[in-house]
């Protein structure tokens, strides 16, 4: 325990640097996945075939082992940030897309009828009525995706990607030598702390962005 703490003390700068990179790559992927997933949900939610296809496809992505996906992306995208972000986007799509679809479908038909009856066009209805009402569910999807990708992002070190995965991989590759375990452990704990920090962030975002009328 002492030796672990002193290891962390000696490598604080590295760990913070990698934690920051880890958070950045996850954040980037989540922003992109949110745009894509919400767009996919918006275009398919009221078409039975379309939404089934969207959920099935993005669900299939999730079954690809992360090692395999990252490895297969190397010939296409090389090493580093790009394949990492792409892989994380692929894994984030299902929760966001599916929750967007569910959220939009839960808007009561009477509300859409009222929107149409008062002369709101489709775009205005989507932006002013449907998405705000579906937002709490969409946000839950984004949060699940974030939790998922914080873990998967650790594997990105395999393709020379950024983040705390480097600590873990380094440590595990030097097993037996001094501090190898401590290094891997520091990386792992860093991932957990980051996941908790993201969760806290979402708690705040949820409070700030849920329309007040839905909280009363």
């Amino acid at each position: 325990m002492d030796r672990f703490l002193s290891y962390v003390g000696r490598h604080t700068d590295d760990l913070l640097q990698q934690g920051l990179e880890h958070a950045t790559v996850v954040g980037t992927a989540i922003v992109i996945a949110t745009v894509l997933g919400v767009a996919l949900g918006v275009t398919t939610w009221d078409r039975p075939m379309g939404r089934a296809a969207a959920v099935a496809t993005t669900g299939t992505f999730l079954t690809i082992p992360s090692f395999a996906l990252l490895g297969l992306l190397i010939p296409l995208l090389g090493l580093g940030w790009t394949p990492t972000v792409v892989a994380l986007v692929v894994y984030s799509l299902l929760p966001i897309t599916r929750n967007t679809i569910v959220g939009l479908r839960e808007v009561a038909p009477a509300i859409l009828e009222a929107a149409r009856g008062t002369g709101m066009g489709p775009t205005r209805t989507l932006l002013r009525v449907q998405l705000p009402l579906a937002w709490p569910l969409i946000l839950t999807g984004i949060r699940v995706s974030t939790q998922l990708t914080v873990g998967i992002a650790a594997i990105a070190a395999y393709v020379a990607g950024p983040g705390l995965g480097n600590e873990i991989f380094d440590g595990l590759s030097r097993l037996g030598s001094k501090n190898a375990i401590n290094q891997a452990l520091a990386g792992t704990l860093g991932v957990i702390v980051l996941a908790l920090a993201f969760d806290l962030l979402f708690f705040a975002v949820r409070r700030l962005t849920t329309p007040r009328g839905l909280r009363v």
Partner: protein
């Protein structure tokens, strides 16, 4: 409830003020109804042989409330929704004060026609004020005018603006929500309102309350209203005219409530009227609308001038009285009615 109209005065129907064509130009004064004409309107859904609505033709005079009554699936709602083109007619012509509605942009058209549905459909994430302000904002009203209009309308239906403006729909009772539904439709002062069983989902007591309140409102506003209901009693209470519709929205009878009760066109209409047509007719006539007998000196059981003859009959039976006094809102005796007054009124078809 209406503070200025004297009880006997019936506001003439179809008083269209000048300049009804002008849109949203700073006037908060009420715009009265517009004349609606449907000519040979049909709706055939793709893939169906039978039309849902078949050559429907009707003139709805400006400022009148017309109830469409008919069984479920007869096409009454479809017919109504063709007026604001939530359903596009397959053929036919619909005009509002002569303007061809089918040539307009449907979204812009709907902002000029109030729309109220049974499920209300308030937007739960918006405050009451934002719900009501929806159409005025789409029409580009400025902030002050919109806010003033919202407060004015909340007042109109007895919801104190200070208390209700910034509440959310979920914090309101069903009756309060439906009132907001009605004023949301009235917000931009449209000449025409479409109402699809607006009070159908409320409990009987709230419903009657809402109906009376709405009737008082309509006496002041004189909008042209198409009101769909399957409740014939509601149609009797609210309608200036009633259209009894059969299958494919065929008009079986289109007449005043009194005439439908007195002379139902056929057995189908009679089945809607149900029993007790004579009593129901008494329910359409207000005591104050009759020529009253001079008041005697005896103290009699009394009814208010705005009571119906049905109430008078009830009082006659309940008190075993020969005569009933009719008093105005201050309690002053205006005159008297006896049983013969009732039968005479029923014979002459009332004074509606």
């Amino acid at each position: 409830m209406s503070d200025h109209a004297s009880p006997t005065a019936t506001v003439p129907a179809g008083t269209v003020p000048a300049g009804t064509g002008a849109d949203a130009d700073g006037e908060t004064a009420t715009r009265h109804g517009a004349r609606i004409e449907l000519a040979d309107v049909s709706k055939i859904y793709a893939g169906q042989e039978e039309p849902a609505v078949e050559s429907f033709s009707m003139v709805i005079p400006a400022g009148e409330l017309v109830c469409f009554v008919g069984p479920s699936g007869c096409g009454k709602t479809t017919t109504m929704k063709m007026v604001n083109r939530l359903i596009e007619p397959t053929s036919g012509r619909i005009t509002m004060d002569g303007e061809d509605l089918l040539s307009l942009n449907p979204h812009e058209l709907r902002r000029r026609i109030g729309y109220v549905i049974q499920q209300i459909g308030l937007f739960p994430h918006m405050s009451i004020a934002d719900n009501v302000a929806l159409v005025p904002r789409m029409l580009g009203w400025d902030k002050r005018r919109t806010a003033e209009r919202v407060d004015e309308l909340l007042h109109l239906v007895g919801l104190e603006p200070g208390r209700f403006r910034s509440r959310y729909p979920r914090q309101l009772s069903g009756g309060q929500q439906q009132r907001v539904g009605v004023i949301r439709a009235l917000a931009a002062d449209p000449p025409v309102m479409l109402m699809d069983e607006p009070f159908g989902a409320t409990d009987p007591i709230t419903r009657e309350h809402l109906q009376n309140e709405f009737l008082a409102l309509q006496r002041r506003l004189r909008k042209t209203i198409v009101f769909v209901t399957h409740d014939f009693e509601e149609a009797l209470r609210l309608g200036d005219r009633i259209a009894v519709l059969g299958e494919r929205s065929r008009i079986v009878q289109y007449d005043t409530p009194d005439r439908i009760l007195a002379e139902p066109a056929d057995d189908y209409v009679r089945s809607f009227v149900g029993g007790q047509a004579a009593i129901k007719r008494l329910g359409l006539i207000r005591a104050g609308d009759l020529d009253l007998l001079p008041a005697g000196s005896a103290s009699l059981p009394s009814v208010r001038v705005d009571a119906t003859l049905r109430d008078v009959l009830d009082a006659i039976v309940a008190h075993r009285a020969q005569r009933i006094a009719v008093v105005d809102s201050d309690g002053r005796v205006r005159g008297e009615l006896d049983f013969d007054s009732l039968t005479a009124a029923a014979d002459s078809g009332g004074a509606r």
